[in-house]
C-alpha cells in the first residue's frame, strides 16, 4: 500500500468514526418523546432496600392504565438521594418527575430547590392537597412546588406480640412515664429491651428525639418553630427541649434501650423488632409494613404514642414526609403533570396506602382505621393532637444533623444537654 493510499484509508476511517459518533450523539440527545401521541417521562425516587418500591408499583399501574405512556424509573439509594438529585438538577440531567420532601430541612427539600429555580410550579390539584397551615413547606412566593403524597406518623412502631416472645404476658403499651420505666425494667430482666434504637444513625436518634419532643415541646407550644424563626426562643433556653433530652438520658439510664445502643445501626431496629428482642422502635409508620414482612404473624405491629410527662397531654408527629415535584427543565411537563394528577386521585391514593402502608394525604380523614396499625392513634388524629415533623420546618439540614449526632453524644456521655441544644442553635443561625 502506498503512502497516499494509507492516508486516504486513514481519513476515510476518521470520517466514518466521526459520522457514526455524530449519529450516536444525535440519537442520544434527540427528543424521542414529546407531548403528543406516545408519551414518556422519567421518574426518580428514593429506595432503602431491594423490595419493589411503592413508587415503582404505582408507575407500573399508571403505565398499565395508559398504554401509550412509558415511565422510565430511576430508583436511587435513600442515603445518597439528596445529593444525587441536587447534582443532577445542577447538571441538567435530572428526571422529569422527582420525589422531594416538604420544607428545607433536608438536601431534597423542595423549598431550596424551588428557590434555585429547579422546580416547576404545580397546579390547583397539588395546591388543594397542601395541609392548611403548612403552606410554607410546600410553596414559595405563593406557588406550590411539591404535591403531598402521604400522611406519615412519627412515633413508636411497637410489636405487641414481642412481649410474649420474651415471656412477658401481661404487657399493655404504657400511657405514662412511670409505667414506661417499669416496662423497661421488665424487658431488661427478660433479656430484651422496650426500645430498639439505631444510636449510631443520626436520622434515627433525631426522629426519636423529635417524637419525644412532640409531648415535651409541641403539645404545649404548637408554634414553637415559628417562635424560633421569629427569634423569640432558642433551643438552649427552651425548657421543653431540655426536658426532651433529659428524657433521652433517663431512658438510657433506665435500661430502656438495647445493650450497645450507641453503636446500633438500622439493623438493630429491624433485628430487634422482627427477632422479638425489642418491643418498639422510633421509625416512620410505613416502615412497620416492611418490618412486619420479616417478622412472624404474631408480632402484631401497632403505631403507639410516646407517653407525655405526668400531667402532660399526648401528642404525636404526623405530616407529609414526601412530595412529588416536576423538573423545571423537563421537556415532558404535560406527561409529568398528568401523572401527578393521577397520583392525587382516590384510586392512586388507595393504591399508595396498600403498597406503602402510609396514610394517603387526601383521604386519611375519611378512612376507617379500625383494625389497622393506626388504631391506637386514631383519637389523636381526630382531635388534632399532632404537629408536623419539626425538621421539615427548620431552615437547613445542619440543625437536624446537630440533633442526631448530639443525641449520640448524650448516649456515649460525650456531650451535655446544653452542648447539643447550643449546637442546634448555632446550626440554625448559620
Amino acid at each position: 500500500m502506498t503512502q497516499h493510499r494509507r492516508a486516504r484509508a486513514m481519513w476515510t476511517g476518521v470520517l466514518a468514526v466521526s459520522a457514526a459518533s455524530a449519529l450516536l450523539l444525535a440519537g442520544c440527545s434527540g427528543d424521542s418523546g414529546g407531548d403528543s401521541g406516545a408519551q414518556e417521562f422519567t421518574f426518580t425516587f428514593a429506595t432503602s432496600n431491594n423490595l419493589e418500591s411503592p413508587y415503582q408499583k404505582l408507575a407500573n399501574d399508571y403505565m398499565a392504565a395508559n398504554p401509550d405512556v412509558t415511565i422510565t424509573t430511576n430508583p436511587t439509594p435513600n442515603d445518597k438521594y439528596g445529593e444525587t438529585v441536587r447534582t443532577q438538577l445542577q447538571a441538567g440531567n435530572a428526571s422529569d418527575v422527582i420525589q422531594t420532601t416538604p420544607g428545607s430541612g433536608d438536601a431534597r427539600g423542595l423549598v431550596g430547590l424551588a428557590e434555585a429555580g429547579f422546580l416547576e410550579p404545580l397546579g390547583d390539584t397539588a395546591t388543594s392537597l397542601v395541609p392548611s397551615g403548612s403552606e410554607s413547606l410546600f410553596q414559595v412566593d405563593g406557588k406550590t412546588y411539591g404535591q403531598p403524597l402521604d400522611f406519615t406518623i412519627g412515633s413508636v412502631v411497637a410489636s405487641l406480640g414481642n412481649p410474649f416472645r420474651m415471656g412477658v404476658t401481661d404487657f399493655t403499651w404504657p400511657e405514662n412515664m412511670t409505667d414506661l420505666y417499669a416496662s423497661c425494667d421488665t424487658f431488661a430482666a427478660a433479656g430484651g429491651s422496650l426500645f430498639a434504637v439505631a444510636g449510631a444513625a443520626p436520622p434515627n436518634t433525631g426522629l426519636m428525639t423529635q417524637a419525644i419532643a412532640a409531648t415535651r415541646v409541641y403539645a404545649e407550644t404548637p408554634d414553637w418553630n415559628q417562635q424560633r424563626i421569629d427569634g423569640k426562643v432558642t433551643f438552649a433556653d427552651s425548657k421543653g427541649w431540655i426536658d426532651t433530652l433529659q428524657t433521652v438520658i433517663d431512658l438510657k439510664d433506665a435500661g430502656c434501650f438495647q445493650a450497645g445502643v450507641e453503636g446500633g445501626g438500622f439493623d438493630a431496629i429491624t433485628n430487634g423488632l422482627s427477632g422479638g428482642t425489642s418491643v418498639g422502635g422510633f421509625i416512620p409508620s410505613g416502615a412497620a409494613i416492611e418490618i412486619a414482612a420479616a417478622a412472624p404473624p404474631e408480632a402484631n405491629f401497632q403505631v403507639e404514642p410516646f407517653p407525655a410527662e405526668d400531667g402532660g397531654k399526648p401528642f404525636i408527629l404526623a405530616s407529609t414526609n414526601y412530595t412529588l415535584s416536576i423538573n423545571a427543565a423537563s421537556e415532558h411537563k404535560d406527561a409529568a403533570t398528568k401523572f401527578l394528577e393521577w397520583m392525587a386521585s382516590d384510586e392512586a391514593q388507595q393504591k399508595y396506602y396498600e403498597y406503602s402502608g402510609e396514610l394517603p394525604v387526601s383521604a386519611y380523614q375519611q378512612m376507617d382505621l379500625t383494625g389497622t396499625i393506626y388504631e391506637p392513634i386514631v383519637g389523636l388524629l381526630a382531635d388534632g393532637s399532632y404537629t408536623t415533623l419539626p425538621n421539615n420546618v427548620w431552615p437547613n439540614p445542619a440543625v437536624y444533623d446537630a440533633l442526631g449526632t448530639g443525641v449520640q453524644g448524650l448516649l456515649t456521655g460525650q456531650k451535655s444537654i446544653d452542648d447539643v441544644l447550643s449546637a442546634m442553635d448555632a446550626a440554625w443561625d448559620q
Binding site: 449510631a200 437547613n396 439540614p397 445542619a398 444533623d401 449526632t405 453524644g409 456515649t412 460525650q414
Partner: protein, 311 residues
C-alpha cells in the same frame, strides 16, 4: 590499515541540512500533536476541575443556585470551629499512626519473608491479599467484628472479661483506634511489597562480608540493609502518608464519623459539608485545606527520606 571517508560534496551537505531541519521540526510538531489529547485530558480533569473546586472555596455556594464571593470567610470559620480542629487532629493521627504501624509491620514482614523461609511465597500472597480487597467491604467485616454482639465481645465474655465489653466503634475512646486497626490491617501488605522490592536490590555479598567482619543481625540491618532500601522507605512512607491523610471509606463504613464526631477527619467533613449539608463552598474550603496539608507533608517527607549526598 587506514580508511578514509570520502568527503561529502559541499552542495549535497547544504541540501541535506535544511531537509533534516525540516524533518526535525515536523517530528517535534508531531510529538506535541500526538501528546495533545493526553495533555488536554490531564489539564481538564486534574487541574482545571481542581482549580474550579478551589475557586468555590471562596464562595458561599450551597451546591445549587447562585453564590457570592466571600473571600476567606470559609477558612476563618474552619479554624474557629473546634469540631473542624478535631477533624484536622484526627486526620493527622490516622495518617501518622497508619504510616508508622504499616511501615514497621510491613518492613518486619518483608525482612522475615525475604529469603530462607520455604513458605514465603504463599505467606507473601496471604499478607498482600487485604490490599486488593475493597476498603468498604473490609470495613464492613471489621464492623461486624467490633459490633457489640460481635466476636471480640463474645470472646471477652467467655474468658470472664465481661467488664471490658463495649461498643467498640461507638466508644469515644476506642472508635478512632478501630479505624486505625482496619487501615493498618489492610495497608501493611502494600508496604511489605515495596520493602520486598527494596530488599531484592541489597547485594547478598555485602551482607555476608559484614557478617564475616563480625557484624550482628541488628548491625547488618542498620548499616548495610537499611541504607540500601532508603528509596523504598521514601516511597512506602510517602504513599502511606498521602493515603492516610485522605482516609474516607473506612471511617464512613465503621463509624460514620461518630460517635458524635469523634472519628471525623477532613475527608469525611468535606463529604458531609459539601453533599449532606449543602455547604459546598465550605466543603471546598475544607478540601483545599486538606490538599495543602497533603502537599506539605508529601514534600517534607520526600526531603527527609531523600538520599543524602556522599560527603
Amino acid at each position: 590499515m587506514t580508511t578514509t571517508t570520502p568527503a561529502r560534496p559541499a552542495t549535497a551537505a547544504r541540501a541535506a541540512r535544511p531537509a533534516a531541519t525540516d524533518r526535525n521540526r515536523l517530528m517535534k510538531f508531531g510529538h506535541w500533536w500526538w501528546a495533545l489529547p493526553g495533555i488536554l485530558l490531564v489539564l481538564g480533569i486534574h487541574y482545571v476541575a481542581t482549580s474550579i473546586g478551589g475557586f468555590f472555596a471562596f464562595t458561599n455556594w450551597s451546591g445549587i443556585g447562585s453564590f457570592e464571593f466571600i473571600g476567606f470567610d470559609n477558612f476563618v470559620k474552619i479554624f474557629q470551629d473546634p469540631s473542624k480542629i478535631g477533624a484536622l487532629l484526627n486526620t493527622l493521627f490516622l495518617a501518622f499512626g497508619s504510616v508508622i504501624l504499616t511501615n514497621v509491620a510491613g518492613l518486619l514482614l518483608a525482612v522475615a519473608l525475604n529469603r530462607g523461609l520455604r513458605t514465603r511465597l504463599a505467606l507473601r500472597t496471604l499478607f498482600f491479599m487485604p490490599v486488593v480487597l475493597s476498603p468498604l467491604a473490609v470495613s464492613y467485616i471489621w464492623k461486624f467484628i467490633f459490633d457489640y454482639n460481635g466476636p471480640i465481645n463474645l470472646v471477652l465474655k467467655s474468658v470472664g472479661l465481661g467488664d471490658l465489653v463495649t461498643s467498640w466503634t461507638a466508644d469515644p475512646t476506642w472508635a478512632i483506634w478501630t479505624v486505625l486497626v482496619v487501615i493498618t490491617w489492610q495497608n501493611t501488605g502494600f508496604a511489605m511489597v515495596i520493602y520486598l522490592a527494596g530488599l531484592a536490590s541489597v547485594p547478598v555479598e555485602i551482607e555476608e562480608a559484614a557478617a564475616l567482619d563480625g557484624a550482628g543481625m541488628w548491625k547488618r540491618f542498620w548499616n548495610v540493609v537499611f541504607p540500601s532500601i532508603r528509596p523504598a522507605v521514601a516511597i512506602a512512607t510517602t504513599l502511606g502518608l498521602v493515603n492516610g491523610l485522605r482516609v474516607f471509606d473506612q471511617i464512613m463504613a465503621l463509624t460514620g464519623g461518630g460517635p458524635a464526631g469523634a472519628t471525623e477527619n477532613l475527608a469525611t467533613q468535606v463529604y458531609k459539608q459539601s453533599f449532606a449539608l449543602g455547604n459546598f463552598g465550605y466543603g471546598a474550603a475544607l478540601a483545599l485545606v486538606l490538599t495543602v496539608i497533603i502537599l506539605f507533608f508529601a514534600v517534607l517527607q520526600q526531603r527527609v527520606t531523600a538520599p543524602r549526598a556522599e560527603v
